[in-house]
């Protein structure tokens, strides 16, 4: 089997117009259902939902590819609200 994927490295080649001030996704970081957290964490293509060694959930919206996977999987649960970034911000595909 292949080596563990390094998603951050892949996101590093992308162009993002980062909105440092506002997250377009509101995540319930204290969400208690570990199974739910795990499925969103594994489904997110950008791997921006992560757990540290203590099991604390981190979410870094700046690397978001705006696909909506977490919204469809977990809106109303782990994902409290989901919108696109404001105009001009977020991922900018040069190739697409």
């Amino acid at each position: 089997m292949a080596a563990k994927v390094n998603v951050a490295e892949k996101l590093g080649v992308n162009k993002f117009n980062t909105d440092e001030k506002n997250s377009h996704i509101d995540v319930d970081k204290g969400y208690a259902d570990k199974k739910e957290v795990d499925r969103v964490l594994r489904a997110c293509p950008a791997a921006i939902y992560t757990l540290d060694d203590n099991g604390t959930l981190f979410f870094d919206y700046l690397g978001c590819l705006e696909c909506g996977t977490c919204k469809v999987l977990s809106e109303g649960k782990l994902v409290k609200s989901w919108n696109y970034p404001v105009g001009t911000k977020g991922i900018e595909y040069r190739l697409g």
Binding site: V5, C67, K71, N83, Y84, Y93, L95, G96
Partner: protein, 393 residues
């Protein structure tokens, strides 16, 4: 604060919205298209292969001037992984492809080109503006709201993509269920044109479309590989509900797939140019939203017009056709001076009569529709027969 009332406002500058803008502006309509990205294509992603037939109706011979990557002349379908992979190859040139010519494309380039064509027709395109909500009174839509700005129009065309929050907020569409949405994750990997030609046995300008079914130990994902001019688009797709049937992560699936023994050598020496992800509405007929209403029409992914037909995944040609049919509907409504649902219902009828809804409703009926159009070849049967002969289910 509306100073001007547009004939039509289009939300979203992808293929569906741009096609509608192109056609309407070409007929002298005052058209405003609002796109949240900094250019058309900035937020868009495809596998991707564009079947050209619907865009041909709008811009004849578009491939001669549009930035298509390669014309697809070769198709492969595979099952299994690595050393266990069984592959069937078609030579499309000899197959009389039922949907006409198709091309590999990269949306960041292609959509910008189509946007330029729409602007030349007289459409007004504004970028970097996210539409937050629709102006609506008693169920009748009459414009859009973006930040503090309100802009009014006789009719709004929603072309805001697979997630279409606007359609959901308007109550036209339920959020997709986990068995109705597939996530696609892709890498574009740069390789020289010569190396691609050599490794895939292609001439310059000729492309390969390759689909892979039931990959990984748990078989939860499918995969694709398309050759561009000097890059390869490679990715995986997974129905979201499948996440409960695997321990793997989606990004790891793509990594595993790339590293399997049949694929890795084809990508050797390549450089990652972009990593992208997008949702694909795959709910078929059950997922179709309300397609029109008073002062509003839904097109493309926003209308969930997408089809997984087994041997091919299609959305872009459906998007273009829906944009064209929406524009024709708006033009007819303009003549009648009536933009109510009573007039705009012609859009759904036109979709029914076109290939679009037949495709959405499933591969079988689509193929029947294609055959009714005079095509003799049946790629699904050919594939299944070949797979049967190879002992693969």
């Amino acid at each position: 604060m509306s100073e001007e009332r547009f004939d039509c406002i289009i939300v979203g500058g992808g293929l569906a919205g741009l096609t509608a803008a192109y056609v309407l502006a070409g007929e002298g309509q005052e058209v405003l298209l609002v796109e949240k990205g900094n250019y058309s294509g900035a937020k868009n992603m495809t596998g991707g292969r564009l079947y050209g037939h619907s865009l041909e109706k709008v811009i004849a011979d578009f491939a001669a001037s549009a930035p298509v990557e390669r014309k697809v002349v070769k198709e492969r379908l595979s099952r299994g992984v690595g050393d266990d992979m069984v592959t069937v190859e078609y030579d499309s040139a000899g197959l009389a492809c039922p949907f006409g010519e198709s091309y590999t494309v990269l949306r960041g380039k292609f959509d910008r080109w189509l946007a330029d064509q729409a602007e030349e027709q007289g459409a007004m395109l504004i970028y970097g503006v996210r539409v937050d909500s629709l102006l609506e009174e008693n169920g009748k839509v009459f414009g859009v709201v973006a930040g503090d700005e309100e802009m009014e129009a006789n009719v709004v065309i929603l072309a805001d993509g697979a997630n279409s929050l606007l359609a959901q907020n308007l109550g036209y569409k339920a959020p997709p269920q986990i068995n109705q949405a597939t996530v696609g994750v892709k890498e574009v990997i740069g390789l020289s044109e010569e190396i691609i030609n050599e490794r895939f046995n292609l001439a310059s300008g000729e492309g390969l479309a390759w689909l892979f079914y039931g990959n990984g130990e748990d078989q939860v994902y499918d995969a694709f590989l398309y050759t561009n001019t000097d890059s390869v688009s490679i990715g995986v797709t997974m129905m979201l509900g499948e996440i409960d049937h695997t321990q793997n992560s989606v990004p790891q699936m793509l990594e595993d797939f790339k590293n399997n023994s049949k694929i890795a050598p084809l990508l050797e020496g390549g450089r990652l140019m972009e990593y992208s992800a997008h949702l694909i509405p795959e709910g078929g007929e059950n997922m179709l939203p309300k397609l029109y209403g008073d002062g509003i029409i839904l097109v493309g992914d926003a209308a969930a017009l997408c089809a997984n037909l087994g041997f091919t995944l299609r959305g872009m040609d459906l998007a273009v056709e829906s944009g064209l049919l929406a524009a024709k509907t708006v033009l007819a409504a303009q003549e009648q001076g009536d933009f109510s649902a009573d007039t705009l219902c012609a859009y759904e009828k036109a979709l029914q009569e076109s290939f679009v809804l037949a495709c959405v409703k499933g591969g079988e009926s689509c193929l029947a529709a294609v055959k009714a159009g005079g095509y003799e070849e049946d790629p699904i049967s050919a594939f299944n027969t070949a797979m049967g002969e190879a002992g693969i289910k």
